[in-house]
Amino acid sequence: MAAESWPVALPLIVLVGGAVIAFLAGRALGARGGDAAGIVAIVAFALSFAAVLPLGDAGGTLAYAPFGEAALLADGLAVFLALVATGLGLAVAAYSLVSMRGERGRAHYTALLLLMVAGLVGLGFAGDLFNLYVFFELMAISSYALVAFHRERGEAIEAGMKYIVMSGAGSLLALLGIGVLYAGAGQLDIAAIRVAGVPSALALPAVGLLIAGFGVKAAIVPMHTWLPDAHSAAPSGISAMLSGVVIQGGLLAMVRALSVFGGGAAPFSYGLLLAFLAVLTMTIGNLLAMHQQDLKRLLAYSSIAQMGYILLGFGIGIEYGIGIAFVGALFHILSHALMKGGAFLAAGILQQAYGTRDLAGLRGAGRRVPAASLPFAVFALGLVGVPPTAGFLSKLLLATGAAEAGTTGAFFVVALIGNSVLSLAYYVPVLTGLFAREGTSPAVHPSPGSAVPVVGLAALVLLFGVWPDLVLGFVNAAAGSLGFGGP
């Protein structure tokens, strides 16, 4: 039985409180307000990260129900998602503190960033479908405003608008799916529904709506089309968050909602559907990325493909009950957050230095801005799956999970690795172009402070690649708490 414990709510309180304080400080302090808000954000992220860490030790028995039935449950998945979200948020806040100097609206930006992460953390902690949806929407709505942050640019407004429409439609479908589940089960608590079950006539449309609805946010093909515009038009820190944790948050919301059917209570199999969608997603994502000349758009398309890899792990784990597939998927969420988040931040530094996102304009940038491009090389090699990065290990675990599924599994392994090889077609030219000899000096010299989070993320990618034991405890706990029968 879950023990009542208020520290479960502490991370959320810190983040929301931090949002309020950052906004007020930012508005009140005039010229220095932006910096003040940024520092508040960094402190808030660090404190909430620290608040989440001890929650994992209790083995998923801590809960808190501030409003009667609506519970927050600190299980392995909640702790894992919260750590990744607040950790990446910390890096982005540090980056934004330096790179957004002189921009207007930083108080809004910082507050929204904190609220977005609060939504993510709450989404992970949600023990019932109502909380899950509320925090999901908190995350989504904050991200709408953040995508369209540079509202003086038409590109950002257009991207934001498309994003709102698509994401809103997806949320609506997801809400419909939750409604159907409620109609079938009579309650919203996830663990309770898992025990009580849902009549299959209602379960089928519910599953379909949940996959399609949350699938928009998770950028599953064919619901992915909003992503490239949104991720490339947003400020670089927000692109990092979107690709790094937000779309994964959408996927985990879907997995959490579907876990009501975990433990063999599903009257039909949908794991294979997820695996098939995953192969479609990764292939289309890689093909779309191939001729991109805009660096951030290329990274955005690559995120679609990487979501495919993660979804494959979940699909195979759900269908065949293979624990290591879940471990691989979750480890890939972590490594991708570090790698893609870092890559976007590095791209942001290059964009600020050269005033362009175009690959032709950035040719040779590598040698002149090594603080950004050497970490970028680490990130790119990690995304391809080259040791000793964390990306190599997560891809290996995903492939192993797929391989354990027997003969069908061999097909998925080949699809996974084939896509990995396909992705070389766009990663290699980016790397070789960046480190070419010709090129000009940057118009604006990037401030050293903005490179600190980037270098830090690159160091973590290498550290976790060589010493995965540091994080495997959290990953394994998350896999075990999914409700599908973990490792």
């Binding site: 608008m161 498309k162 429409v165 997806g170 479908l173 089928l204 449309p205 379909g208 996959i211 399609a212 699938g215 928009v216 064919p222 619901m223 089309t225 909003w226 490239p228 039909f268 199999s269 949908y270 559907l273 969608l277 289309i284 093909l287 779309l288 191939m290 001729h291 290591i324 090699l381 799956g385 080259v386 000793p388 190599f392 290990l393 891809k395 290996l396 675990l397 492939a399 192993t400 797929a402 391989a403 354990e404 003969t407 599994g409 061999a410 392994v413 080949v414 690795i417 990995s420 090889v421 396909l422 077609a425 030219p429 790397l431 070789t432 070419a436 000899r437 060589v466 995965p468 495997l472």
Partner: protein
């Protein structure tokens, strides 16, 4: 950690440790080169120090870094591993000395990057050689790819970057295939470590798992096949010739390509084991691919006027000798295969060193320009002649011995075609190597004699190595001794025997080669080397070669074009129109519901 284990770990990591020293000393070139040289000598010393334990029957092993249950960085200094590592580290010493002369002679740029990457490459090669599991090997195998890239693009011209892109795409793609195969094997058996004769957990798998294991084996062979230049995966190698000559020598004689064939030998004999290799039906396919590569690559070599390209294709051909020997799964085949790793390395590196000296001293790169250069640079071309005779298979040079084992293995395999393949290849070797030597020593010297010592000495040393190893096959701890110890470990109950006087097939091979040499030498004046201005229609063997080469390029181009086309067509779906996006969402919902309905019906 015991002292022995420390030596083993240091044997792999010392080259890596030398890198900061090399980088920091970039403004003091002589000290910097001294550090490289010291690291090379020390690495060879450490590897040699591991031999006594092996010869005593207790190879040193060390588990360095566990990643996950069953996946760790772990080393064991066994016979095959030490064969590769001692040869590589010894040749690193000579290549470093040679590089000093070459890089300074051409006043090359980015020398610090060159020496630093060299150290990284050798360290990675040591890791590949001494790894005792497929996972550990893969880590260093990929490190090999990444660390050789800056060397391939050294010239930093457009052509160099194109070659680098092709190189990375091929080799990282191969690495991906190995990862896939590794994942399947790990999922099936939970253990990917090497054991002479095959991994026991794999051998103990039920027959139902064999289909999946076949897929895994195919992926591993294809993956390692890229660096082994098995056709049609060889395309990166000729393009990579854009690199400086010591790099080409390193890539082609010592580190990268030998790592590829090393991986294949490890997979066939130490992971799957001979029994499983046969059960999975891999043997016929591998023998066929290897034979095809041996012949067609020799054919391509015949077409070349550029010396380095000729040497590249010759390497492609010679590497498949090693694959062929391993695929024979017989004692003679195994010994020949392993020994050829060393024998070919010495001979081919000599030839690349010659190509480099020719470039530095005379600026010549084409065979058609080499008339009389042997009189201008007698030491150099004499060494080239020795190396050429070695690769042709003339006794008592080292490749004669390794090819002898291979021929014996081919003869006793019962497949009639295999000895024919080897004999045909020997004749082709004569046809493309010997005219170079004849041309070099025929005609007047084009200029004053000049051969600088720092480049000539290593060249003479490698040629001498080919002689010494061939004459003194009993050198304790030497390649032939180590290779000779393999069959009893891999194929229990068998032993390889090699008696130079009793080998009929050997004598036959030697006679054929000698006869062909005489024929060529006599008709050398009339044998025109292909030149770029050739106008007469090519007939016979040259036509065949050219058609095949064009066929390969066409296939490669169409693969690239179709993937490209898929990418362009996919882009058209990204219309940017919100209505289309919404339709996508609706389609997604319909697709999901349809699947679920169909599945539950």
């Amino acid at each position: 950690m015991t002292p022995d284990e420390a030596v083993l770990v240091l044997a792999v990591f010392l080259p890596f440790l030398a890198v900061p020293g090399i980088v920091l000393l970039r403004h003091r070139p002589n000290v910097r080169e001294g550090v490289s040289l010291a690291a090379a000598i020390a690495t060879f010393g450490l590897n040699a120090a591991l031999l006594p334990a092996l010869l005593a029957g207790t190879p040193v092993s060390a588990n360095v870094l566990p990643f996950y249950p069953g996946l760790a960085i772990e080393f064991r200094a066994d016979a095959l591993g030490l064969l590769f590592s001692t040869v590589s580290s010894f040749l690193w010493i000579l290549t470093t000395v040679y590089s000093i002369g070459y890089m300074r002679g051409l006043k090359e740029h980015a020398q610090t990057r060159y020496y630093a990457c060299f150290a990284l490459v050798i360290g990675s090669a040591m890791g590949v050689a001494l790894s005792s599991s497929l996972f550990s090997l893969l880590i260093f195998y990929e490190a090999l790819t990444v660390s050789t890239y800056p060397l391939v693009i050294h010239k930093e011209t457009d052509e160099a970057y194109r070659a680098g892109r092709k190189y990375l795409t091929y080799t990282l793609g191969g690495g991906g295939a190995i990862l896939a195969g590794l994942a399947i094997v790990y999922a099936l058996a939970g253990d990917v470590s090497f054991a002479a004769g095959g991994n026991a957990s794999l051998a103990g798998l039920p027959p139902t798992a064999l289909g999946v294991l076949q897929v895994a084996a195919g992926l591993l062979i294809a993956g390692f096949g890229v660096k082994s230049t098995l056709m049609p995966l060889h395309g990166w190698l000729p393009t990579a010739m854009i690199a400086p000559t010591p790099v080409s020598g390193l890539l082609h004689a010592v580190a990268v390509v030998k790592a590829g064939v090393f991986g294949i030998v490890r997979t066939l004999l130490f992971l799957l084991g001979p029994g499983l290799t046969v059960t999975l039906g891999l043997q016929p396919g591998m023998l066929a691919v290897a034979s095809f590569t041996i012949l067609v690559a020799s054919l391509f070599a015949l077409l070349q006027d550029n010396l380095k390209l000729l040497l590249a294709y010759s390497t492609v051909s010679q590497l498949s000798y090693i694959v062929l020997g391993a695929a024979l799964l017989s004692p003679n085949g195994i010994v020949g295969s392993a020994a050829h790793i060393a024998a070919h390395a010495f001979a081919k590196l000599t030839m690349f060193f010659v190509a480099g000296i020719l470039l530095v001293e005379t600026g010549k790169t084409r065979i058609s320009e080499l008339r009389g250069v042997g009189r201008q640079m007698p030491g150099t071309m004499a060494a080239f002649a020795v190396a050429a005779l070695a690769l042709i298979g003339i006794p008592p040079l080292a490749p004669f011995v390794s090819k002898g084992y291979l021929a014996a293995g081919a003869a006793e395999s019962g497949a009639v075609l295999l000895p024919l393949v080897l004999a045909a290849s020997a004749v082709l070797n004569v046809a493309y190597f010997l005219p170079i030597v004849v041309r070099a020593f025929g005609g007047a010297s084009p200029g004053p004699r000049k051969e600088r010592g720092t480049m000539l000495a290593p060249l003479v040393a490698t040629a001498a190595g080919a002689v010494v190893l061939g004459v003194w096959t009993g050198l304790p701890g030497g390649p032939f001794a180590l290779a000779g110890s393999l069959p009893s470990a891999i194929l229990p109950g068998h032993a390889a025997g090699f008696d130079p006087l009793a080998m009929d097939s050997l004598l036959e091979l030697g006679l054929v080669a000698a006869a062909a040499a005489v024929v060529v030498a006599v008709s050398a004046r009339r044998l025109e080397m292909p030149s770029p201005k050739r106008t007469a229609p090519e007939r016979g063997i040259l036509w065949l070669g050219r058609t095949l080469a064009e066929g390969f390029s066409a296939v490669y181009a169409s693969v690239v074009a179709s993937v490209d086309g898929l990418g362009r067509r996919a882009r058209r779906t990204q219309t940017g129109d919100l209505n289309w996006n919404a339709i996508g969402l609706a389609l997604g919902l319909l697709l999901v519901l349809a699947w679920l309905l169909g599945g539950s019906a």
